[in-house]
């Protein structure tokens, strides 16, 4: 459970986050909104790249904002980025291993190798784990990023458009994997995406941001029917669903 209270982020005259108060329960949560609504800014605050002027974030009872950014990875925070971050010249195994070793993941009861191979298998990568990422398809490169986000007992997984650029069938497959994260990895997932089908299929709860403000929040089906949400979207972007 993550509790966000009165979170405000300002850069000069811009306010990407305007006193946002919300709770994310255990499970898969969607975070949607038109471009510039403050979704990525929220992730940046979570991972420590941006320091909010006001507000608190309490994750599983701990004050997240009090931790320096590299400590957050050790605490169990994982994140993916909109742009591809899997390192081409390293193998799949090394890509995942680097997260595991630098996040100083706990290996009681297993070994580092088992954890890493486990994560690669969990996301459904079929290629040889020792193959270079450069040799993979776009789909598998995206899966490598997902494996990096779930390796080593994560507590909170932030996914920023993890399926961007993938065709529909591969997006559906990825949705299936994302849906299984809370149960298999015991981690809370927050998914930012513009693809409403993906959000509908994976998230039990959805929050909507518009111009830095929270405009709706609740069970997925209800929120997506909300008129205010429709307006926010239709005003700026096309609803894909």
């Amino acid at each position: 459970m993550i509790e966000i209270d009165g979170l405000t982020l300002r850069y000069g005259g811009v306010t990407p986050l305007d006193s946002v108060t919300i709770q994310f329960p255990m499970g898969t949560n969607g975070l949607i909104g038109p471009n510039g609504a403050g979704k990525t800014s929220f992730f940046n605050v979570m991972s420590g790249f941006a320091r909010p002027q006001e507000g608190t974030i309490t994750a599983f009872g701990e004050d997240l904002l009090a931790m320096p950014h590299f400590r957050r990875a050790r605490w169990g925070l994982r994140r993916t980025f909109q742009t591809e971050q899997a390192i081409q010249e390293l193998s799949i195994y090394e890509n995942v291993a680097l997260i595991h070793e630098h996040a100083k993941a706990d290996t009681t009861g297993t070994s580092r190798r088992e954890d890493i191979l486990g994560a690669i298998e969990f996301v459904g990568i079929k290629s040889d784990p020792y193959a270079k990422v450069a040799s993979l398809s776009a789909h598998e490169r995206r899966l490598v990023e997902l494996a990096r986000a779930v390796v080593g007992k994560p507590r909170v997984v932030l996914l920023d458009e993890p399926a961007a650029g993938l065709p529909d069938d591969e997006t559906v497959q990825m949705g299936e994997v994302i849906k299984r994260i809370p149960e298999h990895m015991d981690a809370l997932v927050i998914l930012v995406d513009h693809d409403m089908t993906l959000v509908q299929n994976t998230c039990t709860k959805v929050a909507v941001l518009d111009f830095g403000k929270l405009i709706a929040d609740g069970p997925t089906a209800e929120v997506l029917r909300d008129e205010q949400v429709m307006r926010a979207y239709l005003g700026t972007a096309e609803v894909k669903a």
Binding site: T40, N44, F49, A50, F81
Partner: protein, 299 residues
Amino acid sequence: MPSWTQLQPFIVTGLSLGGVYALSGTGIVVLYRTTGVLNLAFGAIGMFGAFLSWQLIHEEGWPQGLGFLAAVAFSVVAMWLYGMVFGPPLAQRDPLVKASATLGFALILLGASSWIWSAAGGATRFQPIPTDTHHFSVGEAMVNWTQVIALAVGVLVVVLTGALLRFTRLGTAMRALANDREVSAVLGVPVRRVEAVAWLWAGVLSGVSGLLLSDLVGLDQVTLTFIVLISSVAAALIARLRSILGTLVAGLGIGLVDACAQPFSGISRYHDMAPFVLALVGLLFVTRKGGALAGRRIV
């Protein structure tokens, strides 16, 4: 411990050299801010121009004025050509790559000039400028007009460049480019044309400083390429590659410290380390104040 009277000539030397460092430092900063290229061939281009004018005047018998003009013209063309040929393919690359590429250009110029004007035979070349022979005294120090010109041109160029950036449309465009190239392009700033102007202007500054230094320091390839480059880059660095006025102050400061350390027996022989030491102190100051990363864009 030298007396005030003994120190005076060194202050004159320091100020004149400092003026040239400020001049080339400004060229480096303006070019960097506008095009994103930190040009480490700045010294080499001026050096080649100075050698060219020496050749034209002393070997080919050109009139002095024309020879000097040719030096500046060479620098302008060389700078502009480099910018036009290597600017676009490297535009999207890291500033570090752009800076390293200019080193390649510096090596070519250095190699070519050593080949054409080889130092073999121990022949030293001088590039006297007519203003050398006219001097007057200030206090105990003899000042020649070349030194006055060096300082005056340095200060003038810095003030002029600052005013240009602030008060003209071109200057506004340059500052816009320094801020954000993509946004500027979208807003209709003619990026390529503004960049071309920056390259040309940097060429003028490098040509003039090459000429002045060939007189003040001597015609030597390595000295003109590196010692001068290092001093000007140090001035630019202390000004955080940003402030024109800061470059002027830092340039004069480096020139002064370098020259005034000479009469002190303990540090005399180390005086040329001044740019490194001052730049290091400047850097320590910058990092101590923090905030260096504050303006950096994340993600």
